[in-house]
Amino acid sequence: MFAMIIRRMVQLVFLLIGITFIVFMAMHIAPGDPASIIGGPTATKTDIIQIRERLGLDRPIIIQYLDYLNGLLHGDLGISFQTNRSVAEEIWIRLPNTVNLAVASVIVSILIGIPLGIISALKRNSWLDVFSTTVSLGGISVPHFWLGAIFILIFAVHLKWLPVGGLHAPFWTPQGFKEIILPAITLGTGSAAMTARMTRSAMLEIIRADFVRTARAKGVKERAVIWVHCLRNAMIPVVTVIGLNFGGLLGGTIITEQVFAINGVGRLMIESISARDFPMVQGGVLLIATIFVVINLLVDIVYALIDPRINYD
């Protein structure tokens, strides 16, 4: 167990180095010279050469990369071309909104997905099952930026129950709760659908297992069979899917933030892509990918801890 964790940590380090390399190289092969972007249309040749020297862009690429890595270790993600402020700082300000949205969406996906999956599995092939499987499929198929727009139209414009967009208060306050509910449902729907499908198939598998039959045979009440024997075991793969979804949801925040005009990392990235503000895009991608792989590692470790049958060695 301990050896597995150590090995995965070492793998993680290599993965992180790989990610930084891809992101760094990606921005360097991008067409468009950063120096002329910073200099603007009025910059002369000498200006551009000076800017290039100031940013260290005239050095060999490997040196630039090592320098970049060194900066990363000190929490330095570079300087934004657009605002001339520290990228790390700009991202740091917006990170809470993005994380709040992702967490709220995970909660939505659990609250909708797990009950839907359980009902589906218990009433297999009933109209309830057909209904919930179709809803799940629909949840995967609907583009969530569209769902968000429709939610805004219904709940904010017509019914005026909830605000049109923005995220200013923390989500545990009444105002914050009102603000995050539509974005969270929008982003959480796809993940809820996947959770429901996973719960359904995990439950169906467990219900047929020998130990469940034994429990029934020795006279355990049906309710106890379902809640104690089935659900606890079925939750193991479901927890994994939810954990993995969290990373995917972080990626999904990019679009949802755009729909609801939420000032988060995703929105910052989209604006930076349009402005060709490479350090900012680099920082955003790096951050999301890093959070994603770290969460995946944690999910794997938790998985191995809660299920002794898992053996990674």
């Binding site: 993965l15 990606a26 996973m198 995917g248 990626g251 892509i273 991608v285």
Partner: protein, 301 residues
């Protein structure tokens, strides 16, 4: 290359039997699944609209008519209404069907071909396995649309770059599926038989392993069409794909969102179109998986 004729015959017969069973079983299962039939019907309608777009409408999808803006559904001459520039929504919808089909198909084909080749190499040659799989692990480190976003950020916003981005994005998943399948097929007796008959590596890979790995590749392709279409529209919605004048469904939603208050149909129509098509490819992919490859677990990728 001189191969023993009888040996070849036996191998061929074994393979044929496998393929025939797949086909018959496939037809049966598909007709038992009403959702899959609905999916097929939707895809068929999309193909008809995409191919026939020139004949199915009298309006150019980009022609503006500023005297007839934001007409609602059911208007005279424009049965699906017009958008904020007076462009006919029906024309934009069916030309959008063409764009989404072309982009989905191109990016899935490119990604699948590259992924299949890499997967075959990784699965067959142990030497290449490590490096190809590590690179694919690395690409998996970028969740959801992030990798496609990074690629578009480098190349610049355009539909062609979206195709490139989505193709590259689909390579690692496809490679992984094919590799897994190759590892199983490689151990089968008829491959050993071919080896002992003196067949070369390339011959075995392309004539024997590839045909028997087609099932998961087809399932992957169908399911990935859904992802590709959804991602294209998402990138266009974000302003990183099609330019706003192009009748691309995601771009239409992005444009229509500003006028949603007065003209909700600008957003509703393209959204339903995307949802239907993505739903169709998902259910058809599911059905194909049930038929061709019940053991495959694409959800884990």
């Amino acid at each position: 290359m001189s191969l023993d004729a009888a040996g070849q015959e036996i191998v061929k017969e074994m393979e044929n039997q496998l393929n025939r069973n797949y086909f018959l079983k496939g037809i049966k299962v598909l007709f038992k699944q009403p959702l899959a039939l609905v999916g097929f019907a939707i895809i068929l309608i999309q193909i008809i609209l995409a191919v026939g777009a020139n004949w199915l409408t009298a309006y150019d999808p980009t022609a503006q008519d500023l005297s007839h803006v934001n007409l609602p559904i059911g208007s005279e001459h424009h049965w699906l209404g017009t958008d904020n520039y007076g462009r006919d929504m029906w024309s934009r919808l069916i030309y959008g069907a063409r764009i989404s089909l072309i982009i989905g198909f191109t990016s899935v084909s490119l990604g699948t071909i590259a992924g299949t080749i890499l997967g075959l190499l990784a699965g067959y040659f142990r030497v290449l396995d490590g490096i190809i799989m590590r690179i694919s692990d690395l690409m998996f480190a970028f969740p959801g649309i992030l990798l496609a976003l990074l690629i578009v950020a480098i190349l610049g916003s355009s539909l062609v770059n979206v195709v490139i981005a989505i193709s590259i994005w689909s390579v690692p998943s496809c490679a992984r599926i094919v590799r897994g399948n190759v590892l199983t097929v490689k151990k089968q007796e008829y491959i050993t038989a071919m080896r002992s008959l003196g067949a070369g590596h390339l011959r075995i890979i392309f004539k024997h392993i590839l045909p028997n790995s087609l099932a998961p590749i087809i399932v992957f392709g169908a399911m990935h069409m859904a992802t590709a279409i959804l991602s294209t529209s998402s990138l266009s919605y974000l302003g990183l794909g099609a330019d706003p004048a192009t009748p691309e469904w995601g771009a239409m939603i992005s444009n229509g969102q500003q006028y949603m208050w007065q003209a909700p149909h600008l957003v509703i129509i393209p959204g339903i179109a995307i949802a239907l098509v993505v739903f169709a490819f998902n259910v058809v992919g599911d059905a194909l998986r049930d038929v061709l490859d019940p053991n495959m677990n694409i959800d884990q990728l």
